[in-house]
Symmetry: C2
Subunit: 277 residues, 2 copies
């Protein structure tokens, strides 16, 4: 267990910004990890304002979350120099949290350990695990208090249904995975068919891969466009899907129909909405 504890200490103590390029290395007086060049770096504030911040970012992880929903925005958030990203387990323990596709992520803290309201609260999507999170009272209580008070409330995919179950989307425009989106209406939200939907301080993303677009939108909101464009270049985010698709409108209708028939998410979410009334 001592290895485990050392790992956790490191995860919770380490600063953000150790990717291929550390934007703030000059501002913070530090060099890139792996640096060989010790000549002074030019000041970067003129090119990128808000180079160092101090945001507290809480990313919820619950059993059955979709890892790509989490890791898309995590790349951008964790590259925010000076920010602190918390991977917040909804479980009582600090065991790795297993995703819907069997990728287990080590949390850095638990819901109950976050006593101060973070600047950003993020919820990933999933399927059966998301439906369970929509009924998980400690998760809902956290969102009703710290989630509501956070400067930015954000989600990807069916994560918006967890925000909705906590009452955070009432009267708001929001999006979700195309298979589920319309059922946001059962929670008092107005579903919008868009990649990223801003409604005040609430920023929701569409299905799974929309977390990259949502993540950049949140970085822009926190630090401005030049910072977001620097991270976009660092992620080489100039997507080129190898063939057409990704939307019901541009996919073989038989494939779209097959996915629709096999998803019970909407029906189950609407049962939860009815229970709340």
């Amino acid at each position: 267990m001592s290895d485990r504890r050392a790992l956790l200490r490191w995860l919770t103590a380490a600063p953000a910004g150790l990717a291929l390029v550390n934007l703030a290395s000059a501002a913070a007086g530090a060099q890139d990890s792996g640096a060989r060049n010790t000549s002074p770096q030019p000041a970067s504030g003129a090119v990128i304002p808000n180079l160092v911040g101090a945001e507290q970012i809480a990313m919820l992880v619950y059993p059955g979350f979709t890892a790509l929903d989490l890791v898309g925005p995590h790349f951008f958030f964790a590259c925010l120099a000076g920010a602190r990203v918390h991977l917040v387990s909804t479980q009582d323990n600090m065991e790795p949290v297993v995703s819907d596709l069997m990728l287990a992520v080590q949390p850095t803290t638990r819901l109950a350990d976050l006593s101060e309201t973070p600047d950003v609260v993020f919820v990933p999507g999933g399927s059966a695990g998301t439906l369970a999170a929509m009924r998980h009272e400690p998760t809902l209580a956290f969102l009703r208090t710290h989630g509501r008070a956070a400067r930015v409330k954000t989600s990807v995919c069916t994560g918006s249904f967890v925000l909705a179950a906590a009452g955070l989307l009432e009267g708001k425009q929001a999006t979700s995975h195309w298979l589920a989106r319309e059922s946001l209406a059962a929670f008092g939200a107005t579903p919008v068919d868009a990649r990223v939907v801003h409604d005040g301080d609430t920023i929701t993303g569409a299905g799974v891969s929309a977390g990259l677009d949502m993540g950049l939108a949140v970085v822009e909101a926190l630090r401005g466009r030049p910072y977001a464009q620097a991270l976009m270049l660092q992620a080489e985010y100039a997507p080129q899907p190898p063939f057409v698709g990704g939307r019901p409108e541009n996919t073989d209708p038989a494939i779209t129909q097959m996915l629709r028939e096999r998803s019970q998410f909407r029906a189950s979410a609407e049962v939860i909405a009815a229970e709340r009334r």
Copy 2:
């Protein structure tokens, strides 16, 4: 530790395909997790051939890997019904492997435990950790034997430099992160400025986010385009970056220059190439 062991047993025993929609639920005679509808599903083989396979997919995880490089393709690979995805630690132990941005992933196995050659071998990128992996003899030995023999050898971002250090890109066309790509030439490869580069059974992707495009290309190679398009729709992969950028050509030159000045990856990789000669 018993919780740990139970987790590992579950991770290594669970089948793929538990995402929002399980494409093979009819073929495998199983229902979606969270299913309520118990009516029989229509046969799907007519819409999507190769609905169930048996690929063994080895995704390497080394200290300092970039999590988004791994998790982009992982989504697509782990949705391949019947396939088995191994998260292969290059470390001697089974502790979570910490990414460059402090996201720790639980491996499901170790290099030494994989006795049979997998169908697919994948290497993610990173920075200082990737340079260390390029000198890590057990990693290189695995790639020289099982990597070379695998049906598909693939990488994202600077992961191609680990393939290169093992000699797998000699005489081949390949890509990498835009900041590093040209130095692939020092390892006998021909750098190509493209999102995804196919050279025979070697499929390399550009920087970080290119793992989504690469992942779909690999799924198409393994199961054909209809399966890949079904997963593209499941991931709602119809990217819409919220502003222009992602390439040196469409980003403020001052930002591009700042990133170039702060990366020592190329210089360090070329030192490793020189050591090998």
